[in-house]
């Protein structure tokens, strides 16, 4: 990890939404006091199940969401409340996004070339034949050979993996320094996922790209992420070096997640767990995981546990872990 000024620096980010319910509209906080840094060329893997706020957080980095409070610095500039379209454009020149659904993230009526050409022209100033060459080159960089041929295709003529490659090429067309990859492989076939992950990895090295890699899959997070951050109910549960978090999870939720992952400590016996979603409504108290936690104590329901370092660069937010002197793992966690 670099010691210089991190490329992304988020402090106490809070994002609120208004939702309609049976009883009128209420505020929820899908992201609630999240702080993290990502350095240039580093991959931070953000792990959580649906409703944990990981996508909301990801979109905030490209400012598709505006934080309600806290601060967000990107590339050394505070972009927390940037609204001017020129400033937003500047931000998005540095930070790009790859979406989850390769079928939804490409416009079905535009050819691949039509997706890339305007971007390359706008951000890199190429025109004419040079533009065509650059587009083809981009496509070849992401593994679509020959690029000229891929450029004339329409999205529906491509497989999911190929589309995701185009989506990556589109992000690259802007020459970004950072990419938010929101579950980029979760909708792809298993046999293709590895190649996309490897492509992202290769681009990281080739262009010194930093990533926020959003996923619900611990294994791919460990594989691709340098560091790992586990989110639950909009709050950070645990964060640290990827191998450390997966290898020796401290937080009961991380442990649960790990144990539930099929093929790794999965047995045919076990307790059926409370699967209720976390409460996101404003005004909640305590630890969002308390209602499911096997180690729950009275304090957990009232006081939000602070994120506390348990090891170098390894932090956990849990009264049971940091408050109590002894931590007793309750769920089998050792990988086979």
């Amino acid at each position: 990890m670099s010691t210089e000024q991190p490329f992304v620096r988020a402090r106490d980010l809070v994002i609120r939404f208004r939702v309609k319910t049976d009883h009128g509209s209420r505020w929820i906080t899908p992201v609630d006091g999240v702080s993290f840094d990502v350095s240039a060329g580093e991959v931070l893997a953000l792990v959580g199940e649906s409703g944990s706020g990981k996508s909301t957080l990801g979109r905030t980095l490209v400012r598709l969401n505006e934080p309600t409070s806290g601060s967000l610095q990107i590339g050394g500039r505070d972009v927390t409340h940037t609204r001017r379209s020129r400033d937003l454009k500047e931000l998005r020149r540095q930070v790009q996004m790859v979406f989850q659904d390769p079928f939804g993230s490409l416009n079905p009526v535009r050819s691949i070339g039509q997706h890339l050409r305007p971007l390359v022209r706008k951000h890199q100033g190429f025109t004419g034949q040079a533009l065509e060459d650059k587009v083809a080159e981009l496509l070849e960089i992401v593994g679509l050979q020959p690029g000229v041929e891929a450029a004339v295709k329409y999205p529906h003529e491509m497989s999911g993996g190929q589309r995701q490659r185009v989506a990556i090429a589109r992000a690259l067309a802007v020459n970004p320094t950072f990419i938010v990859a929101d579950e980029p492989i979760s909708m792809l076939d298993v046999s293709i996922r590895a190649d996309i992950l490897k492509l992202l990895n290769r681009l990281k090295d080739a262009f010194h790209l930093g990533y926020l890699y959003i996923t619900h899959d611990l294994a791919s997070a460990r594989y691709f992420g340098d560091r790992l951050m586990v989110l639950y109910g909009g709050q950070v549960m645990e964060t640290g070096d990827a191998d450390a978090v997966v290898g020796a999870p401290k937080h009961p939720y991380t442990q649960l997640l790990l144990s539930a992952t099929a093929g790794h400590g999965f047995t045919r016996k076990g307790d059926v767990l409370n699967i209720d979603a976390p409460n996101l409504f404003e005004g909640r108290k305590g630890c969002p995981f308390a209602h499911r936690c096997p180690l729950v104590m009275d304090v957990c329901r009232d006081v939000r546990p602070p994120l506390t370092a348990v090891d170098k660069g390894h932090q956990v937010a849990c009264h049971a872990v940091t408050g109590a002197s002894v931590h007793t793992p309750v769920v089998e966690t050792s990988p086979s």
């Binding site: 590895a194 691709f224 539930a260 099929a262 093929g263 045919r268 059926v272 767990l273 990988p335």
Partner: protein, 331 residues
């Protein structure tokens, strides 16, 4: 132990009629599921696994046709039943948990009325009271509070909906349940708890399961035997071996396993299978996997592979076991 077959699928082929002609989705698939057995089928999207499930249920959508073979469930040929007989056969003998738990419940009906409809369709003289009691009992079985009977589907979380569907599926104590990706859209933790429920129920009540999924780890964990489908064919059917990497025999299956990132620290090598599955209109000659196979031999592209049956597995492959493990062939 003399096992009684519950489901016998023989040389089943299913095709979809498209403007470009008939596309074969399931190609000459045969297997048997025995009493109380869970058979898992894995494969990537478009490999024909859902078509297989629907074909067994005789629920193929418009434009899809069984073009060969036969299916017997509990000894009865599903495709030779009259509509009324089929109607009564369904759910009493075989039921199905659909892929999209989100969408299989009628949005305008309560959970209770789903149970009501199901019971009344098969036990017309059942009283409302009995139905309510039985439904509550079933919900308790899948660990849902019976007060949820009054809820509408949209008021339930995805996990709960899937449990409700499972409860409905076992309502009439069928001998055989098809589960078509029952946990795909769910979070891992929820996924696990549902799988546990399924296994628990299966242990308690006793029924056979055809479990379809794209997640080979999951299938391996839950099934007695695991089938692997590729391009419409059942290329492998093996005893589930927990030690995953060693337990499978087809190069495709092995490729799938290699493509999955591992949790264990230190196992950092992952590798995708090159290329993509063939289009049904552009099937490679011989073994349909040969263009993507790292161990392919010349004959792979020339002849259909034979079915190799071993003690605890069967596989369709030209390669010898050693070749399949890549021991003789370095790519």
């Amino acid at each position: 132990m003399a096992r009684r077959p519950v489901v016998e699928v023989e040389h089943l082929s299913v095709g979809y009629m498209t403007p470009r002609g008939l596309a074969t989705a399931v190609d000459d698939v045969s297997f048997t599921i025995y009493e109380n057995e869970i058979v898992g089928v894995v494969g990537e999207s478009g490999c024909g696994k859902s078509t297989l499930a629907n074909a067994v249920m005789r629920l193929l959508g418009p434009g899809a046709y069984v073009t060969g073979g036969r299916i017997r469930v509990d000894g009865q040929d599903v495709y030779r039943m009259q509509p009324e007989a089929l109607r009564q056969f369904r759910w009493t003998t075989m039921s199905m948990v659909f892929q999209s738990a989100m969408n299989v419940l009628n949005p305008v009906k309560t959970v209770a009325s789903h149970f009501e409809d199901t019971f009344l369709a098969h036990v017309p003289n059942m009283s409302k009271r009995e139905i309510a009691d039985r439904a509550a009992e079933l919900l308790r079985l899948v660990r849902i509070d019976p007060s949820r009977l009054r809820s509408y589907p949209h008021e339930l979380s995805g996990g709960m909906r899937q449990r409700v569907v499972i409860a409905i599926a076992i309502a009439l104590s069928p001998r055989f349940v098809i589960m078509d990706e029952p946990t795909t859209a769910l979070d891992v933790v929820v996924q696990r708890s549902i799988l546990e429920s399924i296994m628990e129920l299966q242990g308690q009540i006793g029924f056979s399961v055809l479990f379809i999924s794209h997640d080979i780890n999951l299938v391996t964990a839950i099934s007695n035997r695991v089938g692997v489908m590729y391009a419409g064919r059942l290329v492998e059917l093996s005893e589930a071996a927990f030690d995953a990497s060693g337990g499978f025999h087809h190069p495709y299956t092995q490729g799938l396993l290699r493509a999955i990132p591992k949790l264990a620290v230190g196992e950092d090598e992952i590798e995708g299978i090159p290329g993509s599955p063939p289009s049904p209109f552009d099937m490679p000659s011989g073994c349909s996997f040969h263009p993507r196979c790292p161990y392919r031999k010349p004959e792979c592209s020339m002849r259909k592979p034979p079915l190799v049956v071993a003690e605890n597995y069967q596989v369709e492959c030209h390669l010898t076991p050693a070749e399949r493990r890549g021991e003789l062939h370095v790519h």
